[in-house]
Symmetry: C2
Subunit: 315 residues, 2 copies
């Protein structure tokens, strides 16, 4: 797609992926509602295929390829949930996937991608090394590169999470999603705007990697000085496409401290009995850290994923 | 109730607690089905109020009290999920609850019960100390003692978990539940027998506390020589009421090693993204440890609860 997804584009996107994704449940929890003095509806993308919303975008981008192009395979560089989503989408379509991973990617991540049948290529750890390797792989394979977020088909795919949420709960006051590269937040903002101009849309990001908040303040895409947040899914910067949508349609980016992310994650595990990754707990951390915005509101919060290393938990 | 619950008794029991419990979801997981070569439907009582099926039995036993008796309050001795269930039931009914806990009960368990507004009494750690204290409390308060499992109203309440499961999936081949004192397994066996004589019903217990398996073999209630299993909800022995029902209606008790419980628990956390306690993972451990029984079958497995200490995980 070569334009910002319209309402109709998102409806078509949803149809194109319906057999490749789960319709995930929406949970609310009396005890968390008491603590926050809000009514929070959690859209549980930790129960999505590959354990994260990334499956929506990846399957949407692949559905959008013409058949001849798709047949040549797909590729990306990532060591996270997007890599698993690309690999599983390829498997379901019966095509090849090529994933470039840095040398320092954890063995467990490599293994997850391998289990979906992807071909893995190891690059150096610097971003230039990865991109160089990616170019080689694309040339040799003829595969299509699937960008993790700066791609309108990806954005339309991620938008389907909030589309389902608003189908289930059409009268939300506020929706909040985590922001890393901005694919999920862009899609969320579009769906909310198309549904009801009055809904407030917030992004949530770790204060340690507050590039999105600073980008909105300065009016241009900002980088980060350090990326050692526990919310490993949110270390990325915005792209030009996601920045444009977020600038226009998101009300505010709320930042949260690391200890608040850990406390929110723990609250979700203990009270909701579900496994969420640190990035997925960032919206609740934002609600807990900025209570005046949410008190008394009916809030949709997107739990982005549930892929954690159980041998390396922060509590 | 003074008799083994009939089909109609269980229907009435369900009606009596419907406003005090959640109807919990049933989940299946493609990846676990692949590994086990069975189709497993997990009844997720980790999402039940207080995080465990115990809420069903406790609220059922309290509903069964006549109003004057109920008004005098309820009591039990327990440091586990039953104590929380009794405390929350009392709170919801607006009556007093009295919980006797041993000195060595973890602070976190005391706190959970306190938060529901129960009065806590501390006893010595030996079973005689607890029972002596319990007798004093019952005499002083006039409260009714709610036994954790050897009580037909409790059994009828626990039976509602498998009742819901069979309403959702009427054509299961096999149902498996963990067994400690036997309240859940007794109720499960009754519901399955009333639903369809052909359903196989299994109990699952840690090999370290295989009292139920030995009781079925010897024809009398057996005790345990050690109780240091990680599945802390299953350390109890059967009572005369649960033993009679289980002897008659359960096909077999399957035992599992400790490492198998931990592996099953981890598999559920990692692949299903839900938090289950060790006891709740024992049925999957049994399926993994006794594959020939379950291969190709449509299996209902009851996940008993999700209350774990996140600071003290086995992985």
């Amino acid at each position: 797609m070569d334009h910002i997804p319209t309402r109709q584009d998102i409806i078509e996107a949803h149809k194109s992926i319906i057999n490749y994704i789960h319709r995930t449940p929406v949970y609310t929890n009396a005890s968390i509602n008491r603590v926050t003095e809000a009514t929070i509806y959690f859209k549980c993308e930790n129960f999505q295929k590959v354990g994260a919303f990334k499956m929506r975008g990846a399957s949407c981008a692949v559905a959008a390829l013409d058949e001849d192009t798709r047949y040549k395979g797909i590729a990306t560089h990532s060591s996270g949930n997007h890599a698993q989503a690309v690999a599983l989408t390829a498997k379901l379509y019966g095509i090849e996937s090529h994933i470039v991973m840095p040398e320092n990617a954890p063995a467990i991540k490599r293994q997850a991608v391998e289990e979906y049948g992807a071909k893995i290529y190891t690059s150096g750890n610097r971003i230039e090394d990865r991109e160089k390797k990616m170019t080689e792989v694309l040339q040799a394979s003829g595969a299509s590169f699937i960008h993790p977020y700066n791609n309108y088909d990806i954005i339309a795919g991620q938008a389907t999470a909030s589309k389902e949420l608003l189908e289930d709960l059409p009268d939300l006051d506020t929706v909040i999603a985590p922001v890393g590269g901005g694919g999920l937040l862009s899609g969320t903002a579009l769906t909310c705007r198309y549904h009801d101009e009055q809904i407030k849309v917030y992004g949530a990001e770790p204060a340690l990697v507050d590039d999105a908040a600073r980008s909105l303040a300065s009016g241009k895409i900002e980088g980060n000085f350090r990326i050692d947040t526990i919310a490993d899914g949110l270390r990325t910067n915005l792209g030009d496409k996601t920045f444009a949508i977020i600038s226009k349609y998101v009300d505010e980016i709320l930042t949260v401290e690391e200890e608040s992310i850990i406390a929110a994650m723990r609250m979700i595990w203990e009270r909701m009995k579900i496994v969420v990754e640190p990035s997925g707990a960032v919206p609740l951390a934002a609600i807990l850290s900025h209570p005046t915005i949410f008190t008394g509101k009916k809030v949709g919060a997107i739990i982005s994923g549930g892929n954690v290393d159980l041998q390396n938990l922060p509590f």
